[in-house]
Symmetry: D3
Subunit: 247 residues, 6 copies
């Protein structure tokens, strides 16, 4: 039994209100403001005719997909976040997250079909209320997908490199209860916290989680995975609707 | 006689459509999306209970106002802009601009009335189509003003530190013609380019300009200043309307 | 049916030869050379009478546990790895791994029982043949445990802060087969790759994995977790033996 | 009526004693110690057979002119200035100034006549008593001019790329009075402070100014510009004398 | 007469126990753990098919030999040493030492016989009890020599580039007495401290020394050099034995 | 017999013309332009009421003496030297030299007599024609000495912390001949190159040298030391003359 009410009275198994606002950055090739409740992330994709130096040096064929993630200084309710450039180094947490976003996208892209191109996806957090990485991945797919559509329409790409879609959601255990899509308050108190990344066709791409100072057992993990899969299915529907509505 | 039509058929003396969209970053104490035509800048103000180290060391009374300016990687139509942190240093142009924004705001603030506080104003460019620094200053004043209002309402500040308002606009000479509020295309071709920063009461705060590879004489400067003053008066009206409408 | 022989003829379910050589760095408070087959990681723990600045500022009681991870330049068989300081920034992969090691240790430490102390665990990879992060975590626990024993013996700590032990192992799917403790060759070709971190008492601390360019389903995940648990049980036995044998 | 005496009894409209000492750095292609009263700046020009990477990449023809500005650690009377390299980043004020010096020089250079060359002008401040940027620009032109003469004599350049000369001076308002060429003491107390950059033929290159915490109106601006023009005329005479005297 | 006993009762003219343990880092082309008493340095050599950019640009023929030196964080008995990457710059002392190691090796290498190759020698200090730079040089020669032997055997090098061997030892004056191979305790109290680098054939490569806060005269210098030469002769015997014994 | 004439026809045993020009940087507490032939180094001393953080933390009494060394970009005849800040790190050679200058000064200073002060000596090379480090040390002593005299006169120091004077000179072997005070041309071709740092009373402070690619024997070292001592005696006379003449 749940000991606390969730914000907006949502149930333990419910996503926050999900809003995907396309075209928020018109000079990108695709962009979306990805909102999971109060969490808002600008996701913007650019297809650049250039491959990373290591691919050139190693003579790898095809192209590359990479992501960058950053918290805007005014994105956190607690206190202003100093810009990385003023601390002289990239925040460790941001490094971890942007690597995850990149892997998530590459899992559903056939890099051979991006010959000579790098697909950049930038995720800048405008408001951080928990789940920024899952909002980023879910929005990043949309932004990237829009950029690819434009490139296919212009003929700069011959074939669609996407083999599937990708979405992500968090799940956690708080006061013994399994919750979907935790907000900042919940996340801070959760005993266990997982991020689940899956394809539109229902296969796992990445599962990662654990707890600062807590542990869990196999039945709990099974519950978390089941709830995560439910959340992903709903997000996939929302993504499809956005893409079908055209832009 | 003008040799070229301006975008949207505006006259040489006209501003682009100006839109100020408040509250785009809800965890800041004040925020606005400042749009001068296609140029869009997120301006967000945070009042922090802390003063810079140099003020502490020198025992200066009162508080401080400072600004940071950054181009988001997808803000430029030409090509993706590498983040400063990946180049390891702050872009020279950004340094110049954020120092200007800070000085512009401090010219209309009585720092004594911010005892122990730093007012941070972050300006992140979402779309860059010329005039990002003037859109930033004009929006920064609104964001800062909203943050101050909240602090006065909450009682964390006793008196309004603002002594006046501030707005900014660009003027330039292109093909011999004096133009207001240049977009990127115009700015790239202009012989002379000025930024005018003024108070709401019509006094100059800062005037700076010149030309890469061009020079100008006193009558031209007089024309530029006159047109800039006209533009500022219109921006001041727009700012007042936003602030009076409440938020 | 397995299509390829594993090095040393081990079975799909077998760990590589595990060797834990204590006291390799005598100026640390505890140290071990953690070897999983050809992978060798120097794990060294130092207990420092000092807490991080953020703990001081936030007035958090107790102490802290943190880890640093680095590949020595000559640890990789392919080519010499440039030192981070010469590239000017910490390698993204290293950031991710050292954060994981830190979380793994903190999951089994009661930070209240480290009043005013930081427990540093450094993991420097001498030879990298796959699974460096799991060898690092498994050895880090031993090094930290030895450092804590010394501090208890000297009386600088009053109570043992460890609530359990921790070990880690990798599991993966290669050519459709589920394998334990992948070496570099196997890891490079694996479709799916997981790292499992568990306590000595058999609870999960962290589960993370996925595949560059591949996906997986729930039955596969279940198999991976089962095999990981088996590997962890064996590592826990080895750790106990080392600690009981005294140093 | 002036409320205070100026150092050395000079009038409000007078420059400080101006001394230009050539050849202070004999391994540069042109150099001058530019002294405006106690302010002393080493200006040294080097013509390098190489163009910046961005010119190569964009296929721009011609050459480039760029400047660097730095305060030597012992140049400021108040306290020793830490070197930029020890703070890890270029001082914001220095960035602003060196960009100004570069623009000032490029305004009087035909870059097409520097094919394949970069003209570097370094300005290192030996003593800072106000007006370092104007002393730098005025001296930089002389150093650059000497370097170009040598290159023309040697035949490495075919045509003189200079289309005019350039000089700069500061003007300001202090206690209501308009002053020329402010020293540090005056500059610190001035309500308004302008830097005027002009060609030898009397055209403006750049005008920039304002006040920390003060504002000004159009008649004041007109007075400032008039006094600045007077100062520039005198500096231009001094520059001509130096260059005609040969080296 | 000696006023203090040395550790292990060694005489003023005796080296500490010297142990050279080969093959400690099996992915390097040659490696040794160089132990001078408690001081332990991992020396690892890698021959890379690539020359530094400056050699390419200047069109210098042959190859290059370079060294890097670093203290592992747990190498010092006093307190944990922060990694360079976390301080953002290479430690000044390390810079000085790695330049010395590089020069020492290059003095006995004919760079023409390394066509297109860089020989990297990394020296990572595992335990620092004084004399780390001399242990590093003495071990670096062994590691480099092993790497060269392999390359000759494989045929990637045609001729042995080594013209002689190299070893190094410290000498100092403590309480008026001339001592060989100082440990940390002795080094900290020594009035004068020298490092002597010599070839196997008994010629000097580099002599450097002096004292923080002390001075010395010519007879003292002569004594120091004589004792240093004795120490080097013993180290040369040890090196020869290692190399003759195999690999 | 000498095979080549030296510049200005000086003999193998002669110093270049030595000129010490005081007061070149009037905002320093003491300064001198130290010229050894064409080599010119600005040496400037500042006495700051502040001690380094490590002295505060370790509770060391007294004060500190430290030096910084830098090549100005236009100091080298070959090509412009990029500023350290633009390469992001301090040049290795500069690190080595500034550490040497600091040690040289500290050898003749009683740090107890600088209570609470740091004596900074900055050495900026204006022209580099070989021997910049010896010109720097020789001039640094003069600048520091002038700064100390002022502090004694003002009463901010109670006692003179200098226990002796310090000077430095280079010696080398070129084409088999032992030479004093090598210029750049000689230094580049020398087989062996030493820097000798001595006190005014004729004791050694530091001796360091060797050769890139060459070796030497004991009789050669004896000759080098003898010639170095002769050079130092002459420099000490010049220093005394400057200081006695007052400033």
């Amino acid at each position: 039994m749940m000991e606390f009410p969730r914000v907006h009275g949502r149930s333990a198994q419910a996503l926050r209100p999900i809003v995907m606002k396309p075209d928020v950055a018109r000079y990108a090739h695709g962009s979306v403001l990805s909102c999971f409740g109060e969490t808002q992330v600008i996701c913007a994709a650019i297809l650049e005719k250039k491959i990373p130096r290591w691919m050139q040096q190693q003579g790898v064929e095809g192209g590359w997909v990479t992501a960058e993630y950053s918290l805007l200084p005014y994105s956190t309710p607690q206190e202003r976040k100093t810009r990385d450039i003023n601390k002289g180094k990239l925040d460790g947490r941001s490094v971890e997250i942007q690597r995850l976003i990149g892997r998530a996208l590459r899992a559903v892209v056939d890099l051979k079909k991006l010959p000579g191109y790098t697909l950049w996806v930038d995720c800048d957090v405008l408001q951080a209320d928990g789940g920024t990485r899952t909002a980023a991945i879910t929005g990043a797919y949309l932004a990237a997908s829009m950029a690819i559509k434009k490139a296919l329409a212009k003929g700069s790409l011959a074939k669609d490199p996407f083999t599937d879609s990708v979405a992500a959601v968090s799940v956690g255990i708080l006061a013994g209860e399994v919750l979907l899509d935790l907000d900042y308050q919940e996340d801070s108190s959760a005993e266990v916290d997982f991020n689940i990344v899956m394809t539109g066709s229902g296969r796992f791409i990445e599962v990662q989680g654990g707890g600062e100072g807590s542990t869990f057992d196999e039945p709990q993990l099974a519950q978390l995975l089941a709830l995560g899969q439910k959340g992903i299915r709903e997000l996939v529907q929302i993504q499809r609707k956005i893409l079908h509505e055209g832009r």
